[in-house]
């Protein structure tokens, strides 16, 4: 192309706008969707396929769905879409398990307080953070007192009655909250110069990573009593939480170790040179950087842990998946597995998607690179 551009004296060239159609919405469409004839055809085809899918999905999920009915046959008479009655009739079980109706306000309050307790930890810019952190520290005890009861006139509730999303949250949140600090300690232990600490950390990590979680849960449900002093008989739920915590702490430790090893040697030299002690270096230099690098891996492990809580079904705890299976076993609702499992999937998806988004937000917030 011999388009003659205007000539300027050296050093006098002004900043010109880019040629039309290479920037803005039109530029984006051109380069991303319609960059060539075949790509344009593919774009149009994809849009059509998406339309077919979404149209069908909306009909099945929402427009043709039945939201209340007495059993499956009457459901099918009322509409061609999904039969959500299997869920709506048991929604309280999906949330609370078999927690007594009259006491469910305790679960609700605990759940709402969880947000208040988590806020200062997840979102450091929050107002009154100092005071809220005290609340975060108290929260585990408050939650225990409220949910389990047995104090202050609160009726004692057997943990066998815990179930549904509440059980998932209890196991998931407790294990996540405990496994991060434990994982950090194990990661530091594995990097330690103290040989014994190092060996112990390595053994713990390798053992926990080397066995399937399900075997640990069986150990928790049956064998732990043999290893503990006779007479100690603590709760199955507590044992499950301990095993879950240990299991994910081992993974977290390895993720964080990767982060620690990614820190350039110069950082430690600089910290040494200004006179920081090992613990000061760990607190101000190593961990902030290692944890930042490890965020995707840590959240990945947490999401995995959260979903692995469904394995407790096998040792007889009724999490949402267990409740769903119980619902399907009911002759009235026999065969509605699609609806049931989709709903269980949704319960987990909400939490896991939230974790995933939070980690992206955190990564962006902590990024100090020149962009």
């Amino acid at each position: 192309m011999n388009v003659k551009t205007k000539e300027y004296l050296p050093g006098q060239h002004p900043d010109l706008p880019p040629p039309p159609g290479t920037f803005g919405i039109i530029g984006w469409l051109k380069s991303n969707l319609f960059s060539s004839i075949s790509n344009s055809i593919l774009t149009i085809l994809s849009v059509y396929l998406m339309y077919l899918l979404i149209d069908g999905a909306i009909n099945w999920f929402i427009l043709d769905a039945v939201y209340d009915a007495n059993d499956k046959p009457s459901c099918r008479k009322l509409g061609d879409g999904a039969c959500w009655a299997v869920i709506t009739r048991r929604v309280d079980q999906f949330i609370y398990g078999f927690y007594p109706h009259a006491e469910r306000w305790r679960v609700d309050i605990t759940f709402l307080m969880l947000f208040l307790a988590a806020a200062p930890l997840l979102y450091p810019e929050i107002i009154f953070r100092k005071y809220l952190l005290w609340f975060s520290g108290l929260y585990p005890f408050l939650a225990f007192i409220l949910i389990k009861g047995g104090f202050f006139e609160l009726e004692l509730i057997d943990t066998n009655l815990f179930g549904g999303a509440m059980l998932t949250l209890i196991i998931g949140v407790t294990s996540i909250a405990c496994s991060l600090p434990l994982g950090i300690i194990l990661a530091l232990g594995r990097q330690s110069n103290l040989k014994l600490v190092k060996i112990l950390s390595v053994c713990f990590i390798e053992f926990m990573r080397g066995v399937p979680l399900i075997t640990l849960l069986f150990v928790a449900s049956t064998m732990l009593n043999y290893f503990l002093p006779p007479g100690t008989n603590f709760n199955l739920l507590v044992r499950v939480i301990i095993m879950m915590t240990f299991f994910s702490a081992a993974y977290i430790a390895e993720v964080i170790r990767g982060g620690i090893q990614a820190i350039p040697k110069g950082q430690y030299e600089a910290a040494d040179a200004i006179g920081l002690t090992y613990w000061q270096t760990t607190r101000f230099i190593t961990l902030p950087q290692a944890l930042k690098i490890s965020i995707p891996g840590i959240v990945n492990t947490f999401i995995g842990l959260y979903k692995d809580t469904t394995l407790v079904v096998i040792i007889g705890l009724l999490d949402p998946l267990g409740i769903g299976r119980a619902a399907l076993a009911d002759t009235k609702w026999n065969g509605l597995s699609t609806e049931t499992y989709l709903f269980v999937a949704l319960i987990f998806f909400i939490s896991c998607f939230a974790m995933s988004r939070y980690s992206l937000w955190l990564e962006k917030k902590l990024s100090t690179d020149h962009k």
Binding site: G266, E269, A270, L366, T368, H370
Partner: protein, 250 residues
């Protein structure tokens, strides 16, 4: 602290160091007076960086002794951190903490090692950031600064500990030519305040202008040392002559 002008702040006697079986420093003898400015030069791999890294024990020596401010550096030293905080160090690759702002980089050690209140540490850091001429960058992160600016922050960070000795490990080697000058100017200003300085560098102009003594090292030994004037005009050793001809004639 009142010190006599000629007091020796660093004494190194017959010091040897090995990396594994590789004999990297051989029989080093060096005394540095209070306020003295020393430039150490030599070909790469000659042990000059290792030598100054031994002075704040980033590297441990295996034989001989090193005294810094009258305290011997050895393996069973209880308060190594205390000695290190009196010896400032500036690295070739800056080694700023990327997750902390410029100001936080400077105040971290004063607050946690010197136990200074945060407000005082902030004031102190701003004072030194002003001295290295970048007070306006205090709230930025290191990754947002140019190399020269980062190195000046690193100098300010070291100075915030009010060290008695400053070690510079090739402070300008990772910089673009334009930025070398701003860092050297900062170092010259520091030299004019009477700071004891040991500088590993290939900037012979700086050596000529600032140094009280130039030390030439090769293969782990101190080959020759002299005032810059004599060192550059009348080098005695063959290897020194060769080195000088290589770096000056191009």
């Amino acid at each position: 602290m009142v010190k006599k002008k000629q007091e020796k702040v660093i004494k190194i006697n017959e010091m040897h160091k090995w990396f594994g079986t590789f004999h990297v420093l051989k029989n080093i003898n060096l005394e540095v007076s209070q306020g003295e400015r020393i430039v150490i030069c030599g070909p790469s791999g000659s042990g000059k960086s290792t030598l100054i890294r031994c002075i704040n024990r980033l590297e441990a020596h295996q034989k001989g002794d090193i005294f810094v401010n009258g305290i011997e550096l050895s393996g069973d030293l209880k308060n190594l951190e205390a000695i290190r905080s009196d010896v400032g160090m500036v690295f070739q690759s800056f080694n700023l903490f990327p997750h902390l702002t410029v100001l936080e980089n400077c105040t971290l050690a004063p607050i946690w090692v010197r136990k200074m209140p945060k407000k005082d540490a902030d004031t102190l850091a701003m004072e030194y950031l002003t001295r290295v001429k970048i007070p306006e960058q205090a709230e930025k992160f290191p990754g947002q600064l140019s190399g020269g600016q980062q190195q000046r922050v690193a100098i300010a960070r070291a100075l915030c500990m009010k060290p008695q000795i400053m070690l510079f490990d090739e402070p300008t080697s990772a910089l673009d030519p334009e930025m070398i000058k701003e860092v050297l100017d900062t170092m010259i200003e520091l030299a004019n305040t009477g700071m004891t300085m040991l500088v590993v560098t290939h900037e012979m102009g700086f050596a000529n202008k600032v140094a009280d003594r130039v030390i030439f090292m090769d293969e782990g030994e101190i080959i020759e040392q002299n005032t810059p004037k004599l060192f550059f005009t009348k080098p005695k050793n063959k290897r020194t002559k060769l080195f000088l001809s290589q770096i000056l004639n191009h």
